[in-house]
C-alpha cells in the first residue's frame, strides 16, 4: 500500500500544537510507516508540494503570507484539518481583533515598550505585514476536519490520524472536540 502523503503547517500560532504532535512519542515511529511526511516545519522543504493527502494546519491566518499560503495549501490538499484552537477559532492569536486594526499592536510592541531605536519593522518580502483582523482558517478556505484544543492533546491527534488513515472518517466527537 502506498503511504499517505502527509503535511503539517505552522501559521499564526505558538508552535504548541506541533509540540503536542511531538508528544505522540513512540507512536510517531508507527506513523512514519503509514504516512510520508512531505512538508512540515520539521522537514527541510521550501515549497508546499502538489497532491498532499492530509494536512494539519496550526495557527490562525494572521498576516499576508499566511493568507497566500493557506489558499495554496487548500488547492493542493485533499483533507485539510484545522489543527488546534488558533486554527479553529482564532483563539489567542485573534485576541487583538477587538482593537480592529494591527496598528495598536505594532505600536505597543515596537514603539511604546522599546527603549532602543523604536521602529516598526518594515521589509517587504521578508517581514509579512499583519492583517487587520486575524481569521480562523475556515473563514478563508473550506476546511474538512476540526481538531480543537490549546493544544490538542497527543491522544486526540492520534485518534484523528488513526481514523483518517483507516478510512473511518475525519470527524471528532465527545470530549475530543472540547476547546481550551
Amino acid at each position: 500500500m502506498d503511504r499517505l502523503t502527509f503535511a503539517t503547517v505552522w501559521l499564526g500560532g505558538c508552535s504548541g500544537c506541533h509540540m503536542s504532535f511531538l508528544d505522540l512519542d513512540e507512536w510517531l515511529v508507527d506513523l512514519a510507516d503509514m504516512v510520508e511526511v512531505v512538508y512540515s516545519p520539521i522537514v527541510d522543504r521550501k515549497e508546499y508540494p502538489e497532491n498532499v493527502a492530509v494536512c494539519l494546519i496550526e495557527g490562525a491566518v494572521a498576516n499576508e503570507d499566511n493568507l497566500e499560503q493557506v489558499k495554496l495549501i487548500r488547492a493542493r490538499t485533499r483533507l485539510l484539518v484545522s489543527f488546534g484552537d488558533c486554527a479553529v477559532t482564532g483563539n489567542v492569536t485573534a485576541m487583538r481583533n477587538p482593537l480592529r486594526t494591527a496598528e495598536p499592536v505594532l505600536q505597543r510592541a515596537y514603539l511604546d515598550t522599546a527603549n532602543l531605536r523604536p521602529r516598526i519593522p518594515q521589509a517587504r518580502g521578508i517581514v509579512p505585514p499583519l492583517l487587520d483582523q486575524v481569521l480562523p482558517v475556515h473563514e478563508v478556505v473550506p476546511v474538512d476536519s476540526f481538531l480543537p484544543g490549546c493544544p490538542p492533546p497527543a491522544d486526540r491527534i492520534r485518534t484523528l490520524l488513526q481514523d483518517v488513515i483507516a478510512g473511518k472518517g475525519s470527524l471528532l466527537s465527545g470530549e475530543n472536540i472540547r476547546f481550551g
Binding site: 477559532t89 480592529r100 481550551g180
Partner: protein, 238 residues
C-alpha cells in the same frame, strides 16, 4: 394538586399541574440542555437551548417556561432540535470573545460543556470580536463582559435570592450588557452586599473570584441551593 399525564420521548410521565416540561423531564431522568435555567430561581426563557417539540404545535417551545398539559406529547431529541441547539451555541460563541485557553472557567464551563455535548467542533458564523471591558473594581470579584452570554442568572439571584437588586441588564439584543446599579463600576456599588451569589450562579467565566487564574474558577452551587431550599421548603440543609 391535580396530576397531568404526558409523554416525553415516548415515555409516559406524570407531573403536577403547574410544573414545567423541564421539571417533569428532570423528574423522569430525561436531560434537556439548559443554560439560563438555574434550579431554584425563576425562569425567563432567555437562551432557547431547552427548546422541545410538542405534537400539534408548529413552533418549538422552551421547556423551562412551558407548563405541562394533559396528554401533551413532548420530543426532546430530533434532527431539527439538534440543528437549532448547535446554531444557538455557535451564535453565543460568535457574539463575544471566548478564548477558552486563557479563561478562568476552562474545563468547568457550562457553555463549553454544552458545545461538547451538542457536537460543536467549530463555529460557522463569522466571529464579531466586539470590544468589551473587564470590571475588576470590586474588592473580591471580577466581571469579564467578553465571556457573558446574557443568561441573566446573576441578575435573578441578586434580586430574588439576595434581594440586593444590584445587577441588571441594560440595552437590547446583542448590545445588551450586565450592569451594576446605574451602570457604574462594581467596586463603587452601594447596594452590593458582596455576597458572591452572582459569581456562584454564573455558568461561564464572565464572573469570577479575583485571583483565580486559567481553569481555576470552581463554583459551589450548593451555597445557592441552601438558601433556595430554606426559602421554598422552610428547611435548613446542612
Amino acid at each position: 394538586m391535580p396530576v397531568r399525564t404526558l409523554t416525553i420521548d415516548g415515555k409516559p410521565v406524570s407531573a403536577v399541574e403547574g410544573q414545567t416540561v423541564l421539571d417533569a423531564a428532570q423528574d423522569a431522568g430525561i436531560t434537556i440542555p439548559t443554560l439560563c435555567h438555574l434550579d431554584g430561581v425563576s425562569d425567563v426563557g432567555a437562551c432557547r437551548l431547552c427548546l422541545v417539540e410538542v405534537t400539534g404545535v408548529s413552533r418549538l417551545l422552551p421547556a423551562c417556561v412551558t407548563k405541562v398539559t394533559e396528554g401533551m406529547e413532548v420530543r426532546t431529541e430530533s434532527e431539527r432540535l439538534k440543528r437549532y441547539r448547535r446554531m444557538i451555541l455557535e451564535l453565543l460563541f460568535a457574539e463575544r470573545n471566548h478564548v477558552c485557553a486563557v479563561c478562568v472557567s476552562n474545563g468547568r464551563c457550562e457553555l463549553q460543556n454544552l458545545a461538547v455535548a451538542q457536537g460543536m467542533d467549530h463555529v460557522r458564523f463569522a466571529y464579531r470580536f466586539p470590544p468589551y471591558e473587564v470590571d475588576i473594581t470590586h474588592r473580591m470579584f471580577g466581571m469579564d463582559h467578553n465571556r457573558c452570554v446574557l443568561c441573566s442568572r446573576c441578575v435573578r439571584v441578586c434580586w430574588f435570592i439576595e434581594g440586593a437588586a444590584t445587577k441588571n441588564v441594560a440595552g437590547r439584543g446583542a448590545g445588551a450588557r450586565i450592569i451594576t446599579d446605574l451602570s457604574q463600576p462594581w467596586g463603587k456599588s452601594e447596594t452590593c452586599t458582596s455576597c458572591g451569589k452572582c459569581v456562584q450562579a454564573c455558568p461561564t467565566g464572565a464572573k469570577f473570584h479575583k485571583g483565580s487564574t486559567v481553569a481555576e474558577m470552581e463554583r459551589d452551587r450548593s451555597r445557592l441551593e441552601f438558601i433556595v431550599t430554606a426559602r421554598e421548603k422552610k428547611q435548613w440543609i446542612v
